[in-house]
Amino acid sequence: MVTTDDVRKIANLADIGLDDEEISEFAKQCSGILEYFAVLDTLDQDKPLVHERYNILREDEVLPSLSQEESLQNAGLKEKGYFKAPRVM
């Protein structure tokens, strides 16, 4: 069961900005969905997992990449060749 407090906390962690109406709507829907997902919790955890992923490394050579201008072309706010972000403090 997901409470409205849980939803508020998670929404805050994920920065997704919910209004009060959405908080109760999401609490109800996520409860139903997580209840369905609960079938997973009946599984034993001891099954070994086979990972086929491995690190792909290359020599540290300079390859063609985006120019500073291209990197900034989609930014709404920029200053002196940098992205401008909201204040942290």
Binding site: F26, D41, Q45, S71, Q73, A75
Partner: protein, 431 residues
């Protein structure tokens, strides 16, 4: 360079962007019109993922598949509508309005690559590319009566595909017939060092309709509860057609099926919660000069820019990964994923191909699926292939209530060719 004009009569809202004057070169696909799903980066052409948060975003580079298509002479004529960031099975979750099913405008085309499938089915383009995270190519192919392939994981580069759930998704082709699909796929597959999961398995295949001796497994679990009996019957008849061509079919079982949907959604939403953290309105998307703090500014941007389903999935993913829940959801989902892989490995010792319905039902009515979980459940037959990384294809195999039914064929890793041949054999016989 040659040029063509593209002014489609897009009565089904398949496109978000069209390109009225297209240049193309020589090559194996010279002049073939291709529509590209709007989550695949196209240099100089707006790429929105059907989201407000990317409105106005012009990629400064091409996705690897787009480069390959252009090098092959294909004419990229537009960017197609989709469920926002690939999150949906109906193409209703789009900031640009729903796409309609060309065969019945009151129904959905499926999703999330619904615009790509509808553009192909309506005859607006020769073929299209989409992406498939839990069925997003096969579902709309099934609902619109065309052919769609989710390749073996790693065979097509994901470089430039705007990520939803990296470990599950692949870019793949959609076309009205198997030979066009095969032609398109032949220029898409191959190694790309810019995708860390890329595998050097190019596709260069001459179609063969000879399927004598092919061993087909027909898993009971894919015909059970929730599957429309008429759809199931149509698919079983299609399997009989394959038998009449020399294949041998046998019932089998995939017991991990009961965990597959939950596992796929836990994994995809978890990956999404991380992937979509980059959409904060700073490097792309609408930014506003604000005196607000970082958190408040981001929350505001993301509430205004993301639709409800996207925020719901970020929410579910963040929850699944949160301390205290990780062991119950994300870790167990990985265990279930391994079980699905093991089940397929076991089945593929005895069978060359697994056959099932692609979707549990025909295309539903627009607005009919109101509950999010109900919509997720419609992916139940397509998600196992994404979990296992195996190739899967949907080919039209008949109609129920006038709407197309898709036959899903699932194969061993790197045996996309066999699926394509089986579909080709079926298509030759069924036409």
């Amino acid at each position: 360079m040659k040029k063509l004009s593209f002014h489609p009569d897009d009565s089904v809202n398949a496109f978000i962007t069209t390109i009225p004057e297209v240049s193309y070169g020589d090559g194996p696909l010279s002049g073939v019109t291709v529509a590209v799903k709007d989550n695949i980066s196209t240099r100089g052409i707006e790429t929105t993922c059907a989201s407000k948060i990317l409105k106005g975003y012009i990629p400064p580079f091409d996705a690897h598949v787009v480069t390959l298509l252009k090098d092959a002479g294909a004419a990229i004529v537009g960017k197609t509508n989709m469920d926002e960031f690939g999150m949906g099975s109906s193409t209703e979750n789009s900031a640009y309005g729903p796409t309609l099913n060309p065969l019945d405008h009151s129904r959905v085309p499926g999703g999330s690559s619904g615009g790509s499938a509808a553009a192909v089915a309506a005859g607006l383009v020769d073929c299209a590319i989409g992406s498939d995270t839990g069925g997003s190519i096969r579902c709309p192919a099934s609902f619109c009566g065309i052919v769609g392939l989710k390749p073996t994981y790693g065979r097509v580069s994901r470089y430039g595909l705007i990520a939803y759930a990296n470990s599950l998704e692949q870019v793949g082709p959609l076309a009205r017939d198997v030979s066009t699909l095969s032609r398109l796929y032949s220029v898409m597959a191959g190694y790309d060092p810019r995708d860390g999961t890329s595998v050097d398995r190019p596709y260069s295949h001459t179609l063969s309709a000879d399927i004598k001796g092919l061993r087909i497994g027909v898993p009971d679990d894919f015909f059970g509860e929730g599957v429309n009996t008429k759809v199931a019957e149509t698919v079983r008849k299609a399997v009989e057609t394959l038998e009449s061509l020399g294949a041998r079919a046998e019932p089998c079982s995939l017991p991990s099926m009961k965990y597959a949907l939950s596992a796929c959604y836990v994994i995809s939403t978890s990956e999404a919660s991380s992937n979509l953290a980059r959409f904060d309105g700073i490097r792309f998307g609408p930014a506003t000069d604000t005196p607000k703090s970082w958190h408040d500014a981001f929350s505001e941007q993301r509430k205004a820019g993301f639709g409800k389903e996207v925020r719901r999935r970020i929410m579910l993913g963040t929850f699944s990964l949160a301390a205290g829940y990780y062991g119950r959801y994300y870790q167990k989902a990985q265990t279930a994923r391994q079980m699905v892989r093991d089940d397929f490995d076991r089945l593929f010792k005895n069978y060359d191909v697994i056959a099932s319905p692609t979707m549990p039902d025909i295309a539903f009515k627009i607005g009919e699926m109101k509950d999010p979980l109900q919509m997720y459940l419609s992916d139940v037959l397509t998600v196992p292939a994404n979990l296992a990384g195996v190739p899967a294809l949907s080919v039209p195999c008949g109609r129920v209530e006038g709407m197309p039914v898709g036959l899903q064929l699932i194969g061993r890793r790197f045996e996309d060719e066999r699926l394509i041949d089986t579909a080709y054999a079926f298509e030759q016989e069924a036409v």
